[in-house]
Amino acid sequence: MTPKIVCENISKFFIQKGKQRVHVLEDISLEVMNNEFLVILGPGQSGKSTLLRIIAGLETPTQGRVLKDGKEITGPGQDRGLVFQSYMLFFWRTVMGNVEIGLKLRGVEKKERRKIAQHYINLVGLEGFEKHFPHQLSGGMKQRVGIARAYANNPEIMLLDEPFGQLDAQTRMFMEKETERIWQTEKKTVIFVTNNIDEAIYLGDRIVTLKGKLPGRMDAIYDVPLPRPREHTDLEFVELRQMITDKSELVL
């Protein structure tokens, strides 16, 4: 099986405040298979979001390149959908308006667009909230809109950037379960960035860990052989987590 996404020796430097060069990523190489759920796990400030933005095409790597189906990625495109950590909903649009925006950009006619958007609104469980504005929704609901918006554009690859970082522990578990359900309903290649190890083990087929502190470097790759749906309290789950935690470093 050929990989869907290949990152070849990616390094990234940022220019900060016009005069400071910051080394964010160093020599990242990884492969993502078709319909795989890959989790990138790293502490804060490890460049993991930057890696995701490079795959999305929003940033260009300073060195190395990203291939999708063997072709180099040069910019953002409809084939990859991104879900943002801070939701990034259009606060001037309703839930429906937010979800249908991608289709609208491509000039899909209104009736068709509404039908598709409605399908995804239902899929994420927001039926009845179509006319609400983002500020009327709770955090978990906002991120459902974010996920529906990305899905409605029918990308081949979903990129999620710490999507549940701002939710409380229980809502978060609930959203993880929902994410798994949605992924099972409409299989896609998923790259999921998080700093939460429970989330990583609960969701991932494979976990790539990054080392803390800039520049971010690859640490290890773990397979998660546990059957789905997984339970946070299963012994294998906890043991795997213990193993990964023990191998990672503490950043105070």
């Binding site: 804060g44 522990a169 229980q170 379960k177 939460n196 987590r241 935690t245 470093e249 105070l252």
Partner: protein, 251 residues
């Protein structure tokens, strides 16, 4: 729900009830906390936890019932209450040192005692090195440690913690939880620790109170009599964790 009979009761919560108009939020909550006990409170999302805490700290008045500390009605002005919030509550215009001193200043500690205790606490929490930095110069976990240090500094009769380590990554959380246990053991405070994270609750507490959905009552009480330091992969630990999870599962 009582504490173990061999320990002195420090806090008594009796028939605590809160109504907003016709809406009953807290329904007749009663429990005791022993002197120096570490209690965790867990509950499903949206269980009226905020109201519960605000009533407990007297930020809002209870409709019925009373909270007694050492047999006297609790009052933030006379009792030493301390609260560590979920969101960082460091004053950005004060250094770490002055932030830790804030609670003692408000409580009117005499100057020499304040200085002495300040140095002691800073050293105990390991903040001496960054005592002169401002909150925006230190990491999120450090900010939360400052809040914890500030709370312990006032020798609290009751220390309430509302999910203080909610957004931190796991390794860091373990470290800070261990630190919290160490502080509690050294300084002998009475702690009520509220969290959404069941594993965390089982890890830190002697006793766990499980809240029900609205109107909130205490649904169950779970004693955690595991030796410390506790292991997360200990089958007994996992068993307790599963038990509590089942009690509050709503997803």
């Amino acid at each position: 729900m009582g504490a173990s009979p061999d320990r002195r009761v420090k806090i008594q919560v009796k028939n605590l009830t809160k109504r907003f108009g016709d809406l009953l939020v807290l329904n007749n909550i009663s429990f005791d906390v022993a002197d120096g006990e570490f209690i965790s409170i867990v509950g499903p999302t949206g269980c009226g936890k905020t109201t519960f805490l605000n009533t407990l700290t007297k930020l809002i008045p209870a409709t019925e019932g009373s909270i007694l500390i050492d047999g006297k009605e609790a009052d933030p002005k006379t009792h030493n209450l301390a609260f560590v919030f979920q969101e960082p509550t460091c004053l950005p215009w004060r250094t770490v040192r002055d932030n830790v001193a804030f609670g003692m200043e408000v409580k009117g500690f005499p100057k020499d005692k304040l200085e002495e205790r300040l140095e002691y606490i800073l050293k105990l929490v390991g903040l001496s090195d960054c005592a002169n930095l401002y909150p925006n110069q230190i990491s999120a976990s450090m900010v939360q440690r400052v809040a914890v240090a500030r709370a312990f500094a006032v020798e609290p009769d009751l220390l309430l913690m509302d999910e203080p380590y909610g957004q931190l990554d796991v390794k860091l959380r373990y470290y800070l939880e261990d630190e919290l246990i160490r502080l509690w053991e050294t300084l002998k405070a009475t702690v009520i620790f509220v969290t959404h994270n069941i594993e965390e609750a089982v890890y830190v507490a002697e006793r766990i109170l499980v809240l029900s959905n609205k109107p909130t009552t205490i649904k169950a009480e779970v004693h955690v009599d595991l030796p410390r330091p506790r292991s997360l992969v200990d089958p007994k630990f996992i068993e307790i964790r599963k038990k509590v999870t089942e009690l509050i599962r709503w997803w």
